[in-house]
């Protein structure tokens, strides 16, 4: 054991690493937004009268949930150009993250909407509100509150999954740290530091989620 830790390359690379954190945030937030869109769209299709559409959504969800993200991102990375879509690695990664997170979001959001009792809708309708008003003013907030814990922990997972986007060299923390590592050979020092960065990132994410929760979901439940 004649190894001495040397963090100099990490310190030199700090500005790059901090910028890369921003890249990770960008991937995470964009991925979440896309996941929510896919999630809501999927739930609507999942309740469609057309059987084929319902089964397509179920198939999509199970396909995504039962294969590794790494394989998904490779597949999308190679499939997009064949479909005539030329994108940089970073937008490609956002699409992959959104698709992956969307599959989980479909299941979560569906559970939330189902958890609101029919009586709530009926009370709204009986007061003369329209269907869209009932959804927006009555169903949405309690449903979001119900699913908030599972949705946000899924989003933390999505944030951590961004590191796999390094496999296609998207701009984020892991790929930048790999570059510093291969230049300096200080592998442990680099990856240890970056691990701490990730810990801080997921902590910040959790604080943000908790802040919104305290602000919007503070009404008492029985």
């Amino acid at each position: 054991m004649n190894y001495t830790l040397d963090f100099t390359p990490v310190i030199d690379g700090l500005p790059n690493l901090l910028w890369a954190c921003l890249g990770t945030f960008t991937l995470a937030i964009s991925g979440m937004l896309l996941a929510i869109v896919i999630g809501i769209g999927g739930v609507i299709l999942r309740q469609s009268r057309v059987k084929l559409l319902r089964w397509l959504v179920i198939g999509f969800v199970e396909l995504i949930r039962n294969t590794p993200f790494l394989v998904q991102i490779f597949f999308i990375y190679f499939a997009l150009p064949l479909a005539g879509i030329r994108l940089d690695p970073t937008p490609t990664a956002i699409i992959a993250l959104g698709i992956n997170g969307g599959a989980y979001a479909i299941e979560i959001i569906r559970g939330g909407v189902q958890s609101i009792s029919k009586g709530q809708t009926e009370a709204g309708l009986a007061l003369g509100l329209h269907k869209a008003q009932v959804f927006r003013l009555i169903i949405l907030k309690p449903a979001l509150r119900t699913i908030y814990p599972s949705l946000t922990s899924q989003f933390i997972l999505l944030t951590l999954t961004t590191s796999i986007a390094s496999a296609i060299s998207a701009y984020e923390l892991t790929s930048v740290s790999q570059r510093i590592e291969s230049d300096s050979f200080r592998s442990f020092e680099v990856y240890f530091t970056v691990t701490v960065f990730y810990l801080v990132i997921s902590w910040v994410m959790m604080r943000i989620f908790a802040f919104f929760s305290a602000r919007y979901f503070s009404y008492p439940l029985r």
């Binding site: 054991m1 190894y3 199970e62 396909l63 949930r65 039962n66 294969t67 590794p68 993200f69 790494l70 394989v71 998904q72 490779f74 597949f75 190679f78 499939a79 064949l82 933390i156 951590l160 999954t161 961004t162 590191s163 796999i164 390094s166 496999a167 892991t174 592998s187 442990f188 990856y191 240890f192 970056v194 691990t195 990730y198 810990l199 997921s202 902590w203």
Partner: protein
């Protein structure tokens, strides 16, 4: 894609299965320790295990594998990629399973522990004969769910350089330039491993829900 290439993928598949099995079995043993420490009632130990769990849940699995891989080398333990990745995945599994089982242990009604204490059972018997059998039943759906996560997680071993299914796919794809076919097949193989488990987990959950009603 020829027979040769497909057989190579199957070799990769074999290693994926082996890696998942080792990590799951070792992870179960270590996870049980974590769960017991996490519910030990000793504040400092509970705090420390909570921290251990939080670190693994708050960082990417890929980074965990990197740190373990290079960290082991650093403290003078020379290992090949296979062993290092097994250690990394085992630690990862121990934290997640520990947290799942902590929840299940706490979900067993307090009265059960109290009744066992009233019968003057010691800690070991209380856990082994009364609490854990019930906790395991409660935790089964989530445990199966995590096994699926773990199988998918083994794909990251490819980035560290271990030739399991995904890396086998990468190699073949670079040889024959048919990435969509290759990754399609790789994905299908993962799906065939994971989907039955997912269905089984959902079945357990339903069974548990109806039983507890």
């Amino acid at each position: 894609m020829g027979r040769e290439e497909f057989l190579f993928l199957l070799t990769g598949l074999k290693w994926t299965v082996a890696l998942s099995a080792v990590a799951f079995v070792c992870g179960c043993v270590a996870g049980l320790m974590v769960a017991l420490l996490r519910t030990s009632g000793v504040a400092i130990i509970e705090r420390l295990t909570a921290g251990y769990i939080a670190v693994f849940q708050g960082t990417p699995l890929l980074m965990q594998l990197f740190v373990v891989y290079y960290g082991l080398a650093l403290i003078g333990i020379q290992m090949d990629a296979w062993a290092a990745v097994s250690v990394g995945l085992t630690l990862h599994a121990s934290a997640f399973l520990g947290e799942i089982w902590r929840g299940s242990i706490e979900a067993v009604p307090r009265g059960q522990t109290e009744a066992a204490k009233a019968l003057s059972l010691g800690y070991v018997s209380r856990m082994k004969d009364v609490v854990l059998p019930q906790a395991i039943r409660i935790s089964l759906p989530a445990t199966v769910g995590f096994l699926v996560q773990l199988i998918k997680g083994t794909s990251l071993a490819s980035i560290v350089g271990f030739t399991e299914l995904t890396r086998a796919g990468n190699i073949i794809s670079n040889q024959i330039f048919q990435p969509l076919t290759v990754f399609g097949i790789v994905g299908a193989l993962y799906f065939l491993m994971c989907c039955p488990l997912t269905i089984y987990g959902a079945h357990l959950e339903r069974k548990f829900l109806t039983a507890s009603r």
